[in-house]
């Protein structure tokens, strides 16, 4: 035993001393891995076992070697997180070699969640402050990779100190590392910023560049806070020659200019100079991008605005024409930015962009496509689409072709078909698109056809007959491969032919075509549409048959006969529809035989026209009174019931779900299901009969399939008449190329090309006509010159040469709803906000106003306490101020033996938000007309008053004051008015007593304070005795209004005073207390970001506007007046616009945007809130106050 222990020790010693000899070096490991290509994993697992042994040794060199190997293995994808502690051991070595190895391993495998990081703080601090600059740099490099919130907080000070190191090598690293500190500890930004700013003027260009880099990163996210630095950067830009730095500065300016148009104007010149002079493409590209940003932010007012755009477009053209794919790509990318604001300039380069469609690189082609869609106009739409159609056929890859297809539809349909002048042409394009091989956009085409037919009434005859042709050739869609969804177009075709069957040239033939199709092979939703529309066509045929009984009977019986086969449909809903239609027809037949049939009974089924419904219409439907959508209709199912449902589902409802999902017509689900319809449905066990039927139908479909190689008879649907093809090259080309698709082009459709040519001729004719008119008008001019000028004129306003086609835009909404409501954007905003929340963005926290006085950086020793330290409430005790006016008045009237009573009434607003009633005078605090019974019994001076509460009010107010939020001195995010200001303002308000009523004996004054805590108002009354006599007692009678009531129930309605007098005099004052709706506002400060979020959230649905003209000249003073008198808080104030915010005492938000229009004396107020009445009354109130 003892022996073996010593032996072990010896071996261990030997291994320790000769460790490096026995161990595998990194080279050995790498070589070993390369030599064990067949069983790499096994080899590496063995190596890891060895490494684990090595790590157990005391020799730091062995450990470092092991860690180095682990770093390599980590790159190969092996988990080395278990060695985190060993890595730290190696990092803490005194030797640079090992430290470097350790830090490298840490930077590769630690992340902010690694828990051993908390052990490293002091070690890293030591290394940062090392006398060797390379050690410090190693620590900083590592730290930049694995820094987390704690490290950032604890080491911020050390890094700050390194920024003033004598070595530029250290300084620039410290500056760059600081950015990582900010990201992980936003609190550090403010105190560190002045020092960072200094570094912009560091003598070392490397440090300067680092500072530019960091500020550029910061400013890109929150540009507003960095505007004051613009002059420094401007100087740097004009002096620096380092392109790396220049690019960053120019990028920074790109972020700043949208906020400060003046900056943009100043930038244009140096930037255009750079564009002209530089040979570095990266710099050129950056300059162009920033110039575009400038031009976008100031749309006009630049002296050489157009010249700048032209310059950009020209330079981009050079990039796009370059043979370098990268430049081409970026050129197109930048071009699309210009397109958004200056489409005309880009349109001039139409040719170039079309050319890019032929590029080998798909990403370049897609970019070019993006551009094209923005470039179309009524004039060039047909040309562009034509080229795209030709291009589509030449192009490879179904993904790209699908992209083209959806682009064509997008281009054509944008803005409710704004650019389409010829819908016949468009329909034929859509029909041609159905012949695209293997497209996945079948439903897109279908929806387009439907949409056009519904919205453009004039196209219906044409569309109808095109669709009839599709239906007649429906068999070609059955054979499509599994990957295509093009059969979807039949859904649209069947519906259009049914709904608009009066336009069909030969409805009977179409009906036959439908009935002869193997409809049951289609997906369920298409079948359903078929069956429904068969009935429509039949109805139409009967209607137009002029009571031809024989014809009708024959028609119905053949239809019934054919339809019976549809009953075997595998789709639940389709089957049901077929059955319903069939039975209707049977009933009709029965009635016919009894000669009891009236066609109206049938046609009434399809009366009325179907109009497009606005996308958000459902949401606009008002909830009927008394309907609670949240209430359970039946008791919620209990847990146990749920379970039983689940178990049932288990075995048989899979098929049901299939059916259900396939029957839903929502366009989304139908895209999904479309792909599944081709798959065999094996959940219905076919009977022998069915199998036979299927076999039969398969035979038939084989016959109909032109591609099915079988030596039997020819396919049934032989081409009727070949489309008369014109022999022009383009047309043939297009046709033949298209016919390569899955579907033979023997459909009798008028090719878009014919229509295209016709349209061009028409257009030319119209242009000529117009010209001749103008010619006639200006007949005296020489022929040549007049022609010239006219062509120009005609080109200038082409628009009137295009026919205007009525397109039903938008859609139907429920009565009373408007389409412009804010909530239209609800979804988008919600998702945006949702995304934001999902992904934590550290830059949001870095949005810090840097112009305030910096505070010392929290020392690492007590990092957490400091932010809470100085919280004191600077509000002066309000009781005095509250009492003061009263007291003085008392003094003044003391000799007259007046009794002034301060009474306080609390008005409780009941929980309803009908502010309208509050404001209308009738409903205000009102005294009843008949004097209350009290006066008769008490023959005394009797002013009317609210319930009194004597001086209790003061203490109440104090309490309210204490409820106010303490000023958040350390809340660097807020730039709000300090709340101490608010309390003084509030006190000022309290000083303002307004006259409520006056009689010979008494004046009643009042003041209203809204309480922050509850939906209550404190109304304080001040009664002044105007006589010399002494008041004996006062009775108060209050009549509650509809929407407010007196809350005070504690004190009596009658106040008696000890002084008795012999005189008896009676006085009654009746008054109404007007509670303006502004009194129901309370101050609420809001950070501007929160404010913006609120405005964008779409919750503020009520809007109201007023315009005010005032004699005050100063906009700021107007704002301040409004703020003070209406308890609003300024959220943001920029030049001549300010946003104000407050809440009602019920917590409803009220936001106002005040802008001075033209002159400062003319201001417009735009309000948003959730309470319509309240808002409009408030604005009215503000308006009246300015009159």
């Amino acid at each position: 035993m003892a022996m073996s222990v010593t032996m072990d020790q010896v071996v261990k010693r030997a291994k320790d001393s000769f460790g490096q000899m026995f161990d595998k070096s990194l080279h050995d490991l790498v070589r070993g891995i390369r030599n064990h290509k067949d069983n790499e994993a096994k080899y590496i697992n063995e190596a890891i076992d060895e490494i684990k042994q090595e790590l157990k040794q005391d020799n730091i060199a062995v450990k470092a070697n092991a860690v180095n190997k682990l770093t390599y293995l980590q790159m190969l994808g092996y988990d080395i997180s278990w060695s985190a502690f060993n890595i730290i051991e190696v990092m803490s070595s005194n030797k640079f070699t090992f430290k470097r190895t350790g830090y490298l391993a840490a930077s590769q495998c630690f992340h902010e969640g690694t828990d051993v990081l908390m052990l490293t703080t002091n070690m890293i601090r030591k290394d940062l402050n090392s006398s060797s600059m390379y050690e410090a740099a190693t620590a900083m490099n590592g730290l930049s990779c694995f820094i987390n919130g704690d490290l950032a907080r604890d080491l911020a000070n050390d890094i700050m100190i390194l920024m003033s190191s004598t070595k530029p090598y250290i300084r620039k690293r410290a500056v760059l590392l600081l950015y990582k500190v900010f990201l992980n500890n936003p609190d550090a930004l403010k105190p560190a910023f002045p020092r960072l700013k200094e570094k912009l003027e560091d003598p070392d260009p490397g440090v300067q560049a680092a500072a530019v880099n960091v500020i550029c990163e910061l400013a890109r996210r929150n540009p507003k806070n960095y505007l004051p630095l613009a002059p420094i950067f401007f100087r740097l830009m004009t002096t620096s020659t380092n392109n790396w730095v220049l690019i960053k500065i120019i990028k920074l300016f790109g972020a700043l200019t949208p906020l400060e148009p003046r900056l943009g104007k100043k930038l244009i010149e140096p930037l255009t100079n750079l564009i002209h002079s530089t040979s570095a493409m990266s710099l050129l590209y950056e300059c162009i991008n920033t110039v575009i940003a400038v031009l976008v932010s100031i749309s006009s007012g630049l002296p050489n605005h157009n010249a700048s755009i032209q310059l950009c477009v020209q330079k981009l053209r050079i990039l796009i024409e370059d043979s370098d794919q990268n430049l081409k790509y970026l050129g197109l990318l930048a071009m699309s930015k210009i397109l958004q604001t200056h489409p005309k300039s880009v349109q001039a380069h139409n040719d170039l962009i079309m050319h890019c469609l032929d590029d080998k690189d798909e990403s370049i082609r897609l970019r070019a496509l993006d551009l094209l869609s923005g470039m179309v106009s009524r004039k060039n739409l047909m040309d562009i689409v034509r080229k795209l159609m030709v291009h589509m056929d030449k192009s490879e890859g179904s993904h790209y072709r699908d992209e083209l297809l959806s682009k064509i539809i997008e281009i054509c349909s944008q803005n409710d078909y704004q650019h389409i002048t010829n819908f016949e042409w468009y329909i034929s394009i859509l029909v041609e698109l159905t012949r695209l091989e293997g497209t996945k956009h079948g439903n897109l085409i279908a929806l387009q056809v439907l949409d056009v037919a519904v919205r453009v009434e004039s196209i219906r005859p044409f569309a109808c007959n095109q669709m009839a042709i599709l239906l007649a050739n429906a068999h070609v869609f059955i054979v499509g491969s599994n990957t295509t969804t093009v059969a979807e177009v039949l859904y649209a075709a069947a519906w259009i032919c049914g709904e608009f069957c009066s336009y069909l040239k030969d409805p009977q033939e179409t009906l036959q075509a439908i009935l002869n199709t193997k409809v049951t092979l289609f997906p369920g939703h298409i079948q359903s549409v078929y069956y429904q529309n068969i009935l429509k066509i039949v109805t139409h045929l009967i209607q137009s048959s002029n009571n031809d009984q024989a014809f009708t009977k024959q028609l119905i019986s053949t239809t019934i006969e054919k339809m019976s086969t549809f009953l075997s449909s595998g789709d639940v809903e389709a089957q049901e529809r077929a059955s319903v239609s069939l039975h209707i027809l049977k009933t009709v037949l029965k009635l016919l035989e009894k000669a009891d049939f009236n066609i109206n009974e049938l046609s009434v089924l399809f009366e009325g026209s179907l109009n497009p419904v606005a996308p958000k219409a459902q949401r606009k439907v008002a909830v009927p009174n008394g309907l609670d959508l949240d209430a359970w209709i039946n008791e919620p199912p209990s847990e146990s019931e749920d379970e039983s449902v689940v178990s049932e589902t288990h075995y048989d409802s899979k098929g049901l779900f299939y059916g259900n999902s396939e029957n839903s017509y929502s366009s989304n689900s139908y895209a999904n299901e479309a792909s599944s319809y081709q798959k065999p449905r094996n959940y219905v066990e076919p009977t022998a009969d069915e199998l036979e039927q299927q076999r039969e139908s398969r035979k038939q479909s084989e016959q109909m399939n032109p591609f099915y190689l079988k030596d039997t008879k020819k396919s049934k649907a032989t081409p009727k008449t070949e489309t008369p093809t014109t022999t022009t090259n383009g047309n043939e080309n297009l046709q033949s190329s298209l016919s390569k698709g899955a579907i033979p082009s023997n459909l009798q459709v008028s090719l878009s090309d014919q229509l295209y040519r016709q349209a061009k001729i028409d257009e030319e004719n119209r242009r000529l006509k117009k010209k001749s008119k103008v010619d006639g008008a200006s007949s005296k001019k020489g022929k040549k010159s007049s022609k010239k000028s006219d062509t120009v004129a005609a080109d200038d306003n082409d628009d009137d040469i295009y026919p205007t086609i009525k397109v039903t835009r938008g859609g139907e909404l429920p009565e009373g709803a408007t389409a412009s409501g804010n909530e239209d954007n609800d979804d988008d905003n919600n998702t945006k906000v949702g995304n934001k929340n999902k992904k934590y963005d550290p830059h949001r926290a870095l949005n810090i106003d840097l112009n305030e006085v910096p505070k010392p950086i929290p020392s690492p020793a007590q990092p957490k306490q400091s932010p809470q330290k100085p919280v004191d409430v600077p509000s002066s005790p309000p009781p005095e101020s509250h009492e003061k006016p009263k007291k003085s008045k008392k003094k003044a009237t003391a000799e007259k033996e007046a009794k002034a009573t301060n009474s306080k009434t609390k008005l409780k607003k009941p929980e309803r938000s009908d502010y309208k009633e509050l404001v209308s005078p009738v409903d205000d605090e009102e005294t009843s007309a008949p004097p209350p019974p009290a006066p008769s019994t008490i023959p005394n001076e009797k002013p009317k008053k609210k319930k009194t509460k004597e001086k209790k009010s003061t203490s109440k107010t104090a309490a309210a004051e204490a409820n106010q939020p303490a000023p958040l001195l350390f809340d660097i995010m807020s730039d709000e008015i300090p709340s101490s200001n608010q309390s003084t303002q509030q006190q000022n308000e309290q000083d303002l007593y307004k006259l409520a009523a006056q009689s010979d004996n008494l004046t009643v004054e009042y003041s209203i304070i809204s309480k922050t805590s509850a939906a209550e108002l404190d109304v304080t009354f001040l009664l002044k005795n105007r006589t010399t006599s002494i008041i004996d007692h006062i009775s108060i009678h209050v009549v509650d209004s509809m929407s407010s009531k007196v809350l005070n129930t504690t004190s009596a309605n009658r106040i008696s005073f000890p002084n008795k007098s012999n005189q008896t005099e009676n006085d009654t004052i009746e008054f109404k207390l007007n509670l303006p709706c502004s009194q129901y506002l309370r101050r609420k400060s809001l950070h501007s970001d929160v404010f913006v979020d609120l405005m964008n959230s779409g919750t503020l649905t009520s809007q109201s506007n007023v315009n005010i003209s005032t004699d005050k000249q100063n906009f700021t003073s107007i704002i301040n007046t409004i703020c003070q008198s209406y308890r609003l808080t300024i959220v943001d104030n920029v030049n001549s616009a300010a946003s104000l915010y407050a809440e009602t005492i019920l917590g409803h938000p009220v936001a106002l945007l005040i802008k001075s229009t033209n002159s400062p004396s003319n201001i417009s107020i735009n309000g948003k809130s959730t309470e319509t009445h309240f808002l409009s009354n408030l604005l009215e109130e503000i308006q009246t106050s300015f009159k």
């Binding site: 994808g77 390379y134 990268n326 370049i364």
Partner: protein, 154 residues
Amino acid sequence: MIQFILLFSRQGKLRLQKWYTSQTDKSKKKITREIIAAVLSRKPKMSSFLEWKDLKIVYKRYASLYFCCAIEQDDNELLTLETIHRYVELLDKYFGSVCELDIIFNFEKAYFIFDEFILGGEIQETSKKSVLKAVNDQDVIQEVETPQGLIDEY
């Protein structure tokens, strides 16, 4: 800011990886896999840029190695290409006509060059000379430290 840099071979083997944002091992692996697949599927003659999630991938192939940088939306692609090229030049100067094997066997040196050139995703030194001087200086320190005899360390 550069989010991460990957070096991988034509066969899709990762040769170097440098992450400038904190990521867990799992997400690193996932991202690496996706990007290698996306880049390798590009045909020659295509541009060097592709969009990947909310990042832009800038890549360039040198011999058998792909150098690949992920940058943010408003970063400059051409500048990133220059950055990649600059790094290749640095490797070339340091190893003397660098080849893939140099990087495989001396991967830590390749990382050290990264650290002198880029910090936290930002270029910190644009001068090739200064970068190489710093790397060489540190190599010298290491050589001095390396034990002469085997027993020294103990």
